[in-house]
């Protein structure tokens, strides 16, 4: 099938998509956007988090066909050109990145959290990020990163 969607502000068209492919697969394998990760491909880890029409979703659970005509933003679309987004900067500075496989998902989920709630308390952060697994950091530095990004954003 042919698929047309907007990804990170650009209209993209792909041909020969098999109907069973997920949005994650299309992003990673057909659109050269492997930033969204494939840790579980069953909606449990959040490593594939993207925005679809402004809503945070697990792209592994979205069939490619469901993304037809939609607007998708991936981790590659979060930064402003060469400059890191403050959320990305905070993850680097706080030491919230080890192997980094969970990082793109956390970056997008944190971006979404701070958009909705610029000044979250600890319980808010934990609740919002409960769908993202990290096996390396024990989450402490991820909490630090979110607080750091929130401070930066609220100035």
């Amino acid at each position: 099938m042919r698929l047309r969607l907007v990804v990170n502000g650009e209209v993209r068209e792909v041909d020969d998509v098999w109907e069973g492919e997920s949005l994650l697969y299309v992003l990673r394998e057909r659109l050269e956007l492997p930033g969204s990760k494939n840790a579980c491909e069953q909606g449990e880890c959040g490593s594939c988090s993207v925005y679809v029409d402004g809503s945070l979703v697990c792209s592994c659970l979205v069939l490619a066909g469901q993304a037809e005509g939609r607007e998708v933003v991936t981790v590659e679309g979060i930064s402003d050109g060469d400059d890191l987004h403050p959320v990305q900067r905070a993850f680097v500075d706080a030491g919230a990145v080890q192997c980094g496989f969970c990082t793109p998902g956390f970056v997008v989920a944190t971006h979404d959290l701070l958009r909705r709630n610029p000044d979250p308390d600890e319980a808010d952060i934990r609740e919002a990020l409960a769908g993202n697994l990290c096996r390396c950091t024990g989450y402490e530095k991820i909490l630090d990163a979110v607080r750091l990004a929130a401070r930066g954003a609220t100035g």
Partner: protein, 807 residues
């Protein structure tokens, strides 16, 4: 067994062998040893630009897939691949007959078939592999491979495997390893106070997030390049070459981005398979496991049953320890040998024990193969010895910390396995430190945000039935490879002027798996050579082996190799300075310049000109020795110690837990990179928490019941509390910079500390981990054989929901 020629390409007209560009090595700048130094791969990782092995992509590449045995134990009667081979889009279907070289592999004992023949010994064992033009085509081709199995009764536990009449799973029998440690006169030892207990540890999974994956690229001359996530490039290379029937230099490995490891990438997964498919088809072949396959694709932490007896004087001095540990090694050897040895040597804990008799058994079964995971044999033993120390403290009416302080081992004493306890061994200090960490304030239960109560947003309590508990534990672990293994690492370092400034290039084969070794190597180079700019080259097999990224050893061993190579360059520079500029003063390097007695005498740019200085150093750590028949010997290189305190709240009616805080004290010898160190400690504790509370691969009749992240639970950000840490820097005089390995100790004693806190809150014995709610509320000491099914109430009358015909 295959057409051999890709569809659409006439024979003899193969496209030229494609090649991949070597990744660039970015230049890092600030940070010396001991300073904060941001990780160089942090920026690409937050942008989603860091290339993991599952992201690898090449024009014209094929996708590999693996057919696995559905049975834990069966004879293979017949295999027919013809239907799969004829499918459009399928380029190769390979079985054991197509393995060109050695048909088995394995790090310690090569007992594991590359692809099974005659017999399969565990559910998930690879039987055939396929390469096709789309992953879905490859998966469908697997369904078309006909395998006729004669299903055999599986051997499903270590106890069963020990029985005389058990089927022999390997020619050598079912006993994989037995280690005995005899110390003092344990046979006749008696004591005033004796406590005994039985303990059990479930099968934990490393659950690294980046799935097993890699890309094999044929070089067109019969050799192959493999881009792979692994913990040890050279041992992979040697095993791959052996099974491909190629010379080692015809198989070149490059480390791709690794999404975590924790021991689970020490064994091969798809390495040989992808190379076989690439050589067969003449095209690049990528293989990426999905999560379910990943559970079958790597070894796990050994489940273990232990029986311990401790004897002590009435005033709390240990007299003897007798212990039997039985490990389920699963179907193949992996690193079980070394795990068995570790457990035997650490069974008594970091205590002065006059008499000890330890027996550690490792058995082959038809369960999933087990091998390396963070803590490696010390984890199981620590759960038992620390549970026993608490039990003993209870029997003596003593404070558990006081009992531990009274028996703590000290430098100059001997471990039960005969090795002298080296300096420093700060067991008392870390226990006191962790005890002195201020307790978290006890918050009022009533009126709390439900998210801060056990059960969280499920909103199952307002505080009623919630009890607080506190528990302590201490543990230790050997750093580096033990028992006579020639453990070494190689570093090649060059210094030259590039772009008008001095630049150091560090090249090792050491695997960065997330721990921050790339940063550390640059910090060491900066410290030793006083330069600002360092580039750490991608790890590959063009340089000598660095050994494994395991046993918390890379900072020590590769750290020493980089330090040594840099020191050789420094000597070379100083010699030049003395020759060309004279003077015998005290020379040093700093700020890209050579200094004498603290005054600049020449810049490196002027001194070097166009010259490049290169030094390669192979660092072998101090020799260790195998244990003798009584389990005595200087088996280990270095010991690292940590202690933990857990504070928990338990809803004693529902068995739900909120871990309030973990405090830890750890001796690290030297803080090399503060942020990376904290990350190792916090992350290691999270894995210890997982084992205490939730993580277990459930295996029934040899079959895995929960091969997914839906059913295998990992700690989330809701489960993991904040960590307070006290770091000690007691230098090990023999180690580079005095450092001690830090990766594993956080995982070892955090688990028993949490369980001790749960016992404190619930009063239940809790002898099996992970602890389940039903154990905490006292319904059962073990999880039920048959988990309750949803809607199962009353099924005795109407039949179980999942067994009713209309279901």
């Amino acid at each position: 067994m295959t057409s051999g020629v890709p569809i659409g390409v006439p024979a003899g007209a193969m496209p030229p062998a494609p090649t991949r560009e070597r990744p660039r090595s970015p230049v890092q700048r600030p940070g010396r040893v001991g300073e904060e130094s941001a990780r160089i791969d942090g920026v690409p990782k937050v942008r989603g630009e860091f290339e993991y092995s599952s992201d690898l992509w090449m024009d014209g590449m094929l996708h590999g897939a693996t057919l696995r045995s559905p049975h834990p134990h069966a004879n293979i009667r017949r295999m027919d691949t013809s239907e799969a081979e004829e499918m459009a889009g399928v380029h190769a279907v390979l079985t054991h007959e197509d393995v060109p070289g050695r048909k088995v592999y394995g790090m310690e004992i090569p007992d594991q078939p590359v692809l099974a023949w005659e017999r399969v010994r565990y559910q998930g064992e690879p039987v055939a592999v396929v390469a096709a033009d789309h992953p879905e085509t490859a998966r469908r081709a697997l369904e078309k491979i006909r395998v006729e199995y004669e299903v055999l009764d599986p051997v499903t536990s270590a106890e069963e495997a020990m029985r005389e009449d058990a089927p022999k799973l390997h020619l050598s029998g079912n006993v994989l390893r037995r280690v005995k440690v005899l110390h003092g006169q344990p046979a006749g030892a008696t004591a005033e106070v004796v406590v005994a207990g039985e303990y059990e540890v479930g099968m934990q999974d490393q659950a690294f997030l980046g799935p097993e994956s890699g890309l094999a690229v044929p070089d067109g001359r019969g050799g192959v390049d493999l881009h792979i996530s692994t913990q040890w490039l050279h041992i992979d290379r040697d095993q791959v070459a052996e099974s491909l029937g190629l010379a080692p230099d015809e198989v070149r490995l490059t480390l791709s981005g690794v999404g975590g490891a924790f021991g689970g990438r020490e064994d091969l997964s798809m390495q040989i398979h992808s190379c076989m498919l690439a050589l067969e088809t003449g095209r690049p072949v990528r293989m990426v496991y999905n999560r379910e396959e990943s559970f079958y694709g790597h070894v796990h932490r050994h489940p273990c049953k232990m029986r311990f007896e401790h004897g002590a004087t009435r005033d709390g001095k240990l007299v003897y320890v007798r212990a039997g540990l039985v490990f389920d090694g699963g179907a193949y050897a992996s690193s079980s040998n070394a795990v068995c040895l570790n457990a035997a040597t650490f069974a008594c804990g970091p205590y002065d024990v006059p008499h000890a008799q330890i027996e550690s058994h490792m058995l082959y079964t038809n369960n999933p193969p087990c091998g390396a995971m963070r803590g490696f044999g010390a984890v199981q033993a620590c759960f038992a010895h620390e549970s026993q120390m608490d039990r003993l403290a209870g029997a003596l009416g003593m404070d558990p910390i006081d009992l531990r302080l009274k028996n703590a081992i000290e430098p100059g004493m001997r471990f039960p396995f005969g090795q002298e306890v080296p300096h420093p061994a700060p067991v008392r200090e870390i226990l006191k430190k962790v005890k002195d960490v201020p307790m978290p304030e006890e918050q009022e239960l009533a009126g709390r945000d439900p998210r801060e109560l056990p059960g969280g947003v499920s909103n199952v309590t307002r505080g009623e039935g919630v009890k607080r508990g506190v528990g302590y534990a201490v543990g230790f672990k050997n750093i580096g490879f033990s028992a006579g293994f020639d453990d070494y690492s190689t570093a090649r370092v060059t210094l030259a002027v590039e772009g008008g400034e001095p630049l150091v290039r560090v090249h090792t084969a050491a695997a960065e798996v997330g721990q921050g070794l790339v940063t550390l190597q640059a910090q060491i180079a900066r410290t030793e050579l006083g330069v600002e700019r360092v580039a750490v080259e991608p790890a590959d097999t063009r340089v000598g082996s660095a050994g494994s990224t395991s046993a918390s050893r890379q900072s020590y061993v590769t750290g020493a190799a980089v330090e040594g190579a840099c020191a050789a360059i420094r000597e070379h520079l100083f010699e030049r300075v003395r020759e060309e500029l004279g003077g015998n003063g005290d020379l040093s390097l700093d700020g890209d310049e050579v200094l004498s007695e603290g005054r600049v005498i020449v810049s490196l740019v002027d001194l070097l000109g166009d010259e490049e200085i290169e030094e390669t150093l192979e660092y072998h750590h101090k020799e260790t020795h195998p244990l003798d028949e009584n389990g005595q010997g200087d088996a280990h290189l270095q010991f690292a110690f940590a202690a933990h305190r857990a504070v928990v709240e338990v809803d004693t009616e529902l068995g739900l837990v909120r871990v309030v805080e973990i405090a830890t004290a750890q001796d690290v010898g030297k803080i090399m990179n503060p942020q990376a160190l904290e990350g190792q400690i916090e992350g290691g504790i999270a894995q210890g928490l997982g084992l205490a509370l939730m993580e277990e691969i459930q295996v029934k009749s040899g079959k895995v019941q929960n091969a997914s992240f839906t059913d295998y639970l990992l700690p989330t950000i809701l489960d993991m509390p904040s960590v307070r840490m006290e770091i000690l820097e007691l230098a090990d005089p023999e180690a580079p910079y005095g450092l001690k390995g830090v990766g594993e100790p956080p995982t070892i004693s955090s688990t028993p500390a949490i369980v001790a806190a749960l016992r404190d809150a619930t009063g239940q014995p809790l002898t099996r981990i992970p602890v389940r709610p039903e154990q905490m509320v006292g319904i059962s000491s073990k999880p039920p054989e048959e988990p309750p099914h949803p809607g199962s109430a009353g099924y005795a009358e109407i039949g179980r929901l999942d067994e009713r015909p209309e279901h």
